[in-house]
């Protein structure tokens, strides 16, 4: 295993931990936190590949910066929706969000 593989392994494990949280937790806020962890894992992979492969220098850094900005926008909107929904329904459990269920 070369040095890049160890970092990719770390990113993969972190991504799967986050994916488990998204799939298994009931609290929407914990789901949002797990999503952030998944995005962080992808960022680790990007930065690691940018560090160990020549390619076009700087692209990996900039891509991870863009991902960080988009994650910030996503968490703002996501939590605003959670709060707006909490105001009407008094709950943050995922399985109560079933208004569109036939």
């Amino acid at each position: 295993m070369n040095p890049l593989d160890w970092w990719l392994l770390l990113a993969i494990l972190l991504f799967c931990i986050g994916a488990f949280g998204v799939l298994a937790r009931r609290n929407v806020i914990v789901v949002v936190m797990s999503l952030e962890i998944m995005l962080n894992a992808v960022n680790i992979a990007l930065v690691a590949i940018a560090n160990f492969r020549g390619g076009s220098p700087g692209a990996g850094t900039l891509f991870s910066l863009f991902i960080i900005v988009l994650a910030a926008a996503e968490v703002t909107i996501g939590l605003a929706i959670v709060i707006a929904n909490y105001r009407n329904r008094r709950t943050v459990q995922t399985d109560t969000y079933d208004e569109l269920k036939g």
Partner: protein, 170 residues
């Protein structure tokens, strides 16, 4: 082991830290414990960026994630009421399937990424300087940069519209 300017133990400590805190986020029953664990996970990821010769990303990670996103999430936790109680309130019915799926995905991704031929891997690439990065940002990547600012404005307006409570008119 991971090469670079640092001792391999640094990688082991950072990896153990990040993975432990990540598991804490997913497994803690109290949402506030999850949030604190998430903050420490983000800090560990920032150290990982520093080890990977990306100091700018490390600083932005601390500013945006540890500084801003954590605060927003902790505010959301304080504004909502979380039920306490049995296991079923924290994990839904598909937990076992989700665990199997996550483990399987980890195994498949690990096998693919290790066995894939991704070309030569240098022990140490050159670190892009801040000047080079800013030149790239405003020259080659100026279109995504402007798009991201548009996304931020849209997110800001959307968050205000969603969270704003309409006053009862007399």
């Amino acid at each position: 082991m991971p090469g670079g300017d640092f001792h391999p133990w640094f990688f082991i400590v950072i990896a153990a830290w990040v993975l432990t805190c990540g598991l804490g986020v997913v497994l803690f029953k109290k949402v506030m414990y999850s949030a604190v664990s998430m903050v420490f996970c983000f800090l560990g990821v920032a150290f990982a960026y520093a080890l990977l010769n990306a100091p700018l990303v490390a600083v932005v990670q601390i500013l945006v994630y540890v500084g801003a996103i954590s605060i927003v999430i902790i505010f959301a936790i304080m504004l909502t009421e979380v039920q306490d109680g049995r296991f079923e309130l924290f994990f839904n019915r598909q937990t076992a399937a989700a665990g199997v799926l996550a483990l399987a995905a980890a195994a498949v991704l690990a096998i693919v990424s290790i066995s894939a031929d991704i070309g030569p891997v240098g022990d140490k690439a050159l670190t892009p300087s801040l000047k080079m990065l800013s030149r790239l940002l405003f020259d080659r990547y100026v279109f995504p940069f402007e798009l991201v600012s548009l996304v931020l404005v849209a997110a800001m307006i959307g968050a205000i519209v969603l969270a704003h409570r309409e006053e009862e008119r007399p």
